[in-house]
């Protein structure tokens, strides 16, 4: 009896196993159609739904399937490495510049002959090695100090102000900015703000505005001043000679802020943007992607016509001509290990997106990209005030816009060390020397293993 019972159980187990097996194999066969489709691993979670609409439209117009997958915030590299090893590897993915390319170069197909590349306005902005293009930038972004003109105008109208300026147009270097900011901070109650600058978010993971974006400026000047060839190995070591200029603006941020500099370690970017949106501060350093965020905060008091950009002045000689930091860290790549047919299908999809009438409409209206392709007419630009500002600064030839050299930063780990040192400096537990040493030494050690 016992034996029989055992046999029945065993048979059932075996049956359920085979049943499971069948299940998976049947779903496999339906997956087959999918695995032959182009897969796109999207970098920006905030536009995931827009991409869903795009691929739907694409399949309506052309009958071809593209599957969009999105990596959660800050997990793109993780998701990409995990997915690359599977049979559902992305056909289209993106890298964040030369450093990202060196990690993924075994997977980056030559895009020189793709139609999209031929329509790229500025060929030098692509990721190119030995005359071949491996990554195509798909958007241009710009950042600087965003300010609320309503509040600055209120300041310039103050009777007891200590500076002689009458508008932000006159503020064109660090010295003037410092004078205005410090006087605004002194008059913060009259202006109805908690501080001039939004809190300098230094919580690990939320410190990219400082260890990446702001750090771009001293590194740009250092490379420029020493005529460094950005594609050479000379970028593997820096002296951080413009570090003191970095300190200028960083001090200004943390000393004239809505919060005390000692508690910056728990502040996140979203809070800074909320402070700006609610009118608790007059200025915040960020880029044109921030408009949707500012506009989306309930109780937002910042109107579209009052949101303006100021270049990030640090005190470098001749900075009166300096513009915004404009560039990209978003390069589209096609997986060279994918099927030939899939690779060309991927290129077709990308070209459709950036050249067809319906595709372009999505790019401008839903994705909000300033697409760097000559298929876009001047009128086909996103309709948000910060993007307009970026385009104005780009077209102003009297200004010298700073490219995004932070794509040359050796690794994420370097940025984290930098951010941690900045936090300790802000809290007062380490001095500025420590920041400088950290930047120089970790840049060097993190570069050692780069190819």
């Amino acid at each position: 009896m016992k034996k029989q019972f055992a046999l029945i159980i065993a048979a059932l187990t075996a049956l359920s196993m085979t049943a499971c097996g069948k299940d998976t194999s049947s779903s496999d066969s339906s997956d087959e159609a999918k695995s032959a489709a182009v897969r796109f691993l999207n970098f920006k979670p905030e536009i995931a739904t827009a991409y869903e609409e795009i691929v739907k439209k694409y399949s309506e117009e052309t009958g071809r399937t593209v599957i969009v997958e999105t990596a959660a915030n800050n997990t793109y590299e993780q998701t990409l490495s995990a997915k690359m090893a599977t049979s559902e590897a992305p056909t289209i993915f993106q890298v964040n510049g030369p450093r990202g390319y060196s990690n993924w170069k075994d997977y980056c197909a030559d895009l020189t002959s793709t139609e999209l590349y031929t329509h790229l306005t500025d060929k030098s902005s692509a990721l190119s090695y030995d005359g071949k293009c491996y990554g195509i930038p798909y958007t241009v972004e710009g950042y600087g100090i965003i300010y609320n003109k309503e509040i600055t105008d209120k300041y310039f109208a103050l009777e007891n102000k200590a500076t002689g300026f009458s508008g932000m147009d006159e503020v064109n270097n660090f010295e003037k900015l410092k004078a205005v900011v410090e006087d605004m901070q002194a008059n913060k109650d009259a202006l109805g703000i908690k501080g001039v600058f939004a809190s300098t978010s230094l919580k690990p993971g939320d410190d990219w505005r400082w260890q990446t974006h702001l750090a771009n400026i001293p590194i740009y000047y250092e490379f420029k001043n020493n005529n460094i060839d950005l594609t050479s190995d000379a970028t593997k070591e820096i002296t951080f000679e413009y570090g003191d200029y970095y300190k200028n603006i960083f001090d200004l941020y943390i000393n004239n802020s809505t919060v005390d500099r000692k508690i910056l370690g728990s502040k996140i970017t979203d809070e800074s943007m909320a402070e700006f949106a609610l009118g608790e501060c007059a200025m915040v350093q960020n880029g044109n992607w921030a408009w949707s965020q500012i506009n989306g905060i309930s109780g937002n008091t910042v109107t579209a016509e009052n949101i303006k950009y100021l270049p990030i002045y640090t005190g470098v000689a001749g900075e009166e001509d300096q513009g915004l930091c404009i560039g990209t860290e978003n390069f589209l790549c096609i997986n060279s290990q994918a099927d030939e047919a899939l690779q060309s299908a991927a290129a077709d999809f990308l070209f459709w997106l950036y050249s067809s009438e319906s595709g372009k409409k999505y790019v401008t209206d839903s994705l909000g990209f300033i697409a760097p392709f000559d298929t876009f007419a001047d009128a086909e630009r996103p309709d948000d005030p910060l993007t307009h500002e970026v385009i104005d600064w780009m077209s102003d030839t009297s200004k010298n816009n700073i490219p995004w050299n932070f794509t040359l930063f050796p690794s994420q780990t370097f940025k984290e060390y930098f951010g941690a040192a900045l936090l300790q400096y802000a809290q007062g537990s380490a001095d500025w020397e420590n920041v400088k040493n950290t930047v120089v030494s970790s840049w060097k050690t993190e570069s050692e293993h780069l190819e």
Partner: protein, 276 residues
């Protein structure tokens, strides 16, 4: 009964091989390789192991983890034991208290981390600082969090152990003239040794492998001084291009350390157990 072996063991064995043994061997193999995805690995020998120690991060994390484990194993077990003792006395509402003490264990680590991050920062803000100000705050924050989370669970194990001790033993000790402290020291604790073995094992390995609480509470701030081993491995693997193999090598070292310590501890506390 041998002929039934394939029927009963094979399915499990296959699943175990596919889900554990193969990934494990692949993991060890990959720790000797340079790779971006598991498919394009290139053999580099012991290079990854050398690089794992090339900066102080790993040793710092090891030291921090060891210290944290030592403190939390002791505090968790002492508090869990004391609470279990109190809640096995015939008091009103012990069931409610058991449930309440157990509840933190049902909350996920990330959520717990954020909750305690808010609480601790809220308290520290009265002193004008936050948890990232000093590694000490992060350390004690983690200890408190782990205690809060694990005590309830260990308490349940201790309560079960205490209820398993035959009443006669306590009565006999009482008749022989033992005072409550002597009864605790010479009767209850020896009889409870199996529970102590399992509880120390669980707290030891859990504290050593702590990851999500660490990530959510401090994320290593300030300056990676509060990153524990698991977080350091994660950062190595994903934070730098070309360092995936090094992360893998660290993970292998981590595995060996955890296995050794857990094994030694089981041997040690196991030897103190008495027959019922």
């Amino acid at each position: 009964m041998k002929k039934y072996f394939p029927l009963f063991v094979l399915p499990t064995l296959l699943a175990f091989t596919a889900a554990f043994i193969i990934p494990f061997i692949m993991g060890i193999y990959l720790s000797f390789n340079k790779f971006t995805t598991v498919e394009n690995a290139k053999w580099v020998g012991f290079d990854n192991y050398v690089r794992a120690f090339s900066n102080g991060d790993f040793l710092n994390a090891l030291w921090f983890t060891a210290l944290f484990t030592a403190v939390s194993v002791i505090t968790v077990n002492v508090f869990a034991f004391l609470i279990a003792l109190a809640l096995t006395k015939a008091l009103r509402g012990t069931n409610i208290f058991r449930t309440i003490f157990f509840m933190p264990n049902l909350i996920g680590g990330i959520v717990l981390g954020y909750i305690w991050n808010l609480i601790i920062n809220g308290v520290l803000s009265y002193f004008g600082v936050d948890i990232s100000y000093s590694a000490k705050y992060g350390f004690w924050g983690l200890v408190i969090l782990t205690n809060w989370q694990l005590i309830g669970y260990m308490m349940v194990i201790y309560i079960a152990g205490l209820q398993n001790i035959p009443k006669e033993l306590g009565e006999a000790a009482q008749i022989d003239g033992a005072n409550p402290r002597q009864a605790l020291r010479h009767v209850t604790i020896p009889m409870l040794m199996p529970s102590i073995t399992i509880c120390t094992f669980l707290t030891l390995t859990n504290s050593f492998k702590l990851f999500d609480q660490n990530l959510a509470l401090t994320a290593g701030a300030p300056a990676r001084k509060t990153s524990m081993l698991a977080l350091d491995i994660y950062n190595t693997f994903y934070g730098r291009a070309g360092w995936q193999g090094v992360g893998q090598a660290k993970a292998v070292i981590f595995f060996i350390i955890v296995a050794l310590i857990a094994f030694a501890q089981l041997k040690f506390t196991g030897s103190k157990e008495v027959e019922n």
